[in-house]
């Protein structure tokens, strides 16, 4: 027990900073990812129509292909690899950024890919009649998306978006590879200092568990408030 006490006592402030950074990464990643995913999901489902002018057809094709490739690449490669590539390649281009900035960038783009699929699925699972009714009133496709389709799709996506937030709390641990000072980094350095690997990681595990469980409970409460059916604690990506 003394070993645990030493670690917590000596690293208390750093642990708090680590928790703060972990939550910041998860929160910013999910929020930025959500807004980018709204754009990417809408690009992804662009449909070429007979009436479109040639230039519109080409732009639609480019947009949807780009979104498809983006999702495939980001979901098909580990975030730890993406983080290293972004952090060091931007340095090569002369952009000096902190590990935290690179970490926020990586987790945001990574989350975008996952949420794009979530929102695309939610849009496509809505009854086709919603769009038809909107069009029959004279709403353009864009207006129909903004006023009718997206609000419903987002509401139906609330549970998976919450899950993504919880996943991000855990998975941002990999960002320690580029020296992001998150909870895992802190505990890793504590482990190295005292040669107490098991104890440090048990503390890390306990804190992660508290974070994910309390977030999960908070989300479930919020979901009930806006009337969305809840889902159990998710597994990792």
């Amino acid at each position: 027990m003394d070993n645990f006490k030493i670690i917590i006592k000596e690293y208390f402030t750093q642990i708090l900073i680590g928790i703060g950074n972990t939550l910041l990464l998860a929160l910013v990643g999910t929020v930025v990812g959500f807004f980018l995913a709204l754009i990417f999901a809408n690009l992804r489902i662009l449909k070429i129509e007979k009436r479109d002018q040639l230039i519109v057809k080409i732009l639609k094709k480019i947009g949807s292909t780009f979104s498809k490739i983006y999702v495939t690449v980001f979901r098909g490669t580990p975030m730890i690899v993406q983080a290293v590539i972004f952090y060091y390649s931007f340095h090569q281009f002369g952009l000096i950024w902190t590990p935290m900035q690179a970490g926020l960038f990586t987790v945001s783009l990574n989350t975008t890919a996952y949420l794009t699929e979530v929102i695309r699925g939610a849009i496509q699972s809505l009854d086709k009649g919603q769009m038809e009714a909107a069009r029959s009133l004279g709403l353009s496709k864009t207006k129909a998306m903004i006023y009718i389709i997206i609000p419903q799709a987002v509401k139906n996506s609330m549970a998976p978006i919450g899950n993504e937030f919880i996943i991000n709390i855990k998975d941002t641990a990999v960002l320690s590879i580029i020296q992001v000072f998150d909870l895992f980094s802190v505990m890793k350095s504590a482990a190295g200092t005292y040669y107490l690997y098991v104890e440090s990681m048990l503390i890390a595990a306990a804190i992660y568990l508290i974070l994910t469980l309390s977030t999960s409970m908070l989300l479930r409460y919020l979901e009930q408030k806006i009337g969305v059916p809840s889902k159990p604690l998710p597994s990792s990506n």
């Binding site: 009436r51 919603q130 009714a133 909107a134 029959s136 004279g138 006023y147």
Partner: protein
């Protein structure tokens, strides 16, 4: 008198299945045209071509003498003049009753919220739902939903109303309330095109009845002509089957 809607040589296929074969049809202002026929005869597709929810393969459709199939034609403007009521209601689930009726007038016609609301309440009262204005649409009965859908279309003050089997998804005890609202709409001299299986309604309200089979208009005439002395053996056969049930 010039027709409000003129359909010429209209063809439409889904994959290899030709559902509309060379349809010619004129709809005049003030008419109530009921289209009857078996499932799969192409009547819903024909209706959906009028506001271009389905794009025909060939042929012409003129609305107010303008060719709506011209690629330069403003579809959204056309659709403000053509109200549509669907079999499955298609109320917007993210809005309450009133907001369902407001979205078109405010976001498409550019009416002020106050003017749109006045109109919406007028039409919601017409369909007997003045006490449900702020109700969540998911908590309405089927009949109420369809009446909201009718009010939503009427609030746009269109020149013609299309009804695509408006009572087919309803429980039997709710068919009456929707049909009686439709009767009221017909009485207001609204031009209506109704795809329906309700023969009594067609007989009573229609000014013209069209019988379709296999993608073609087989016969048309006054309800009297169609229901009492159909000329074509297929019309006769269809009516005999459906009225004997």
């Amino acid at each position: 008198m010039k027709p409000l809607i003129r359909i010429e040589k209209l063809n439409k296929s889904f994959h290899n299945n030709q559902v509309l074969k060379n349809i010619d049809l004129n709809i005049y202002e003030g008419e109530v045209v009921c289209i009857i026929g078996a499932s799969g005869s192409g009547k819903s597709t024909l209706l959906r071509c009028i506001n271009l929810l389905e794009e025909p393969d060939s042929g012409n459709i003129y609305f107010e003498d303008q060719n709506i199939l011209d690629s330069q034609f403003n579809l959204n403007k056309l659709r403000t003049k053509i109200g549509m009521v669907f079999q499955s209601f298609n109320l917007f689930n993210n809005y309450n009753v009133l907001d369902n009726c407001l979205i078109g007038p405010t976001k498409v016609l550019g009416l002020s919220k106050k003017d749109a609301k006045e109109k919406a309440i007028y039409y919601l009262t017409k369909v007997g739902l003045e006490n449900f204005v702020h109700q969540d649409v998911n908590r309405l009965s089927g009949g109420q939903k369809q009446r909201v859908a009718i009010a939503r279309a009427l609030t746009m003050e269109p020149r013609v109303m299309l009804f695509d089997e408006p009572t087919s998804a309803l429980d039997p005890e709710m068919v009456g309330e929707v049909l009686s609202v439709m009767r009221e709409v017909a009485k207001s001299r609204m031009t209506m095109v109704v795809v329906t299986h309700e023969m009594d309604f067609a007989r009573e309200v229609a000014t013209r009845v069209i019988y379709m089979d296999d993608g073609q208009i087989i016969e048309e005439g006054t309800p009297e002509q169609i229901f009492t002395k159909p000329q074509h053996p297929r019309t006769n056969e269809f009516l005999r089957r459906i009225l004997e049930r």
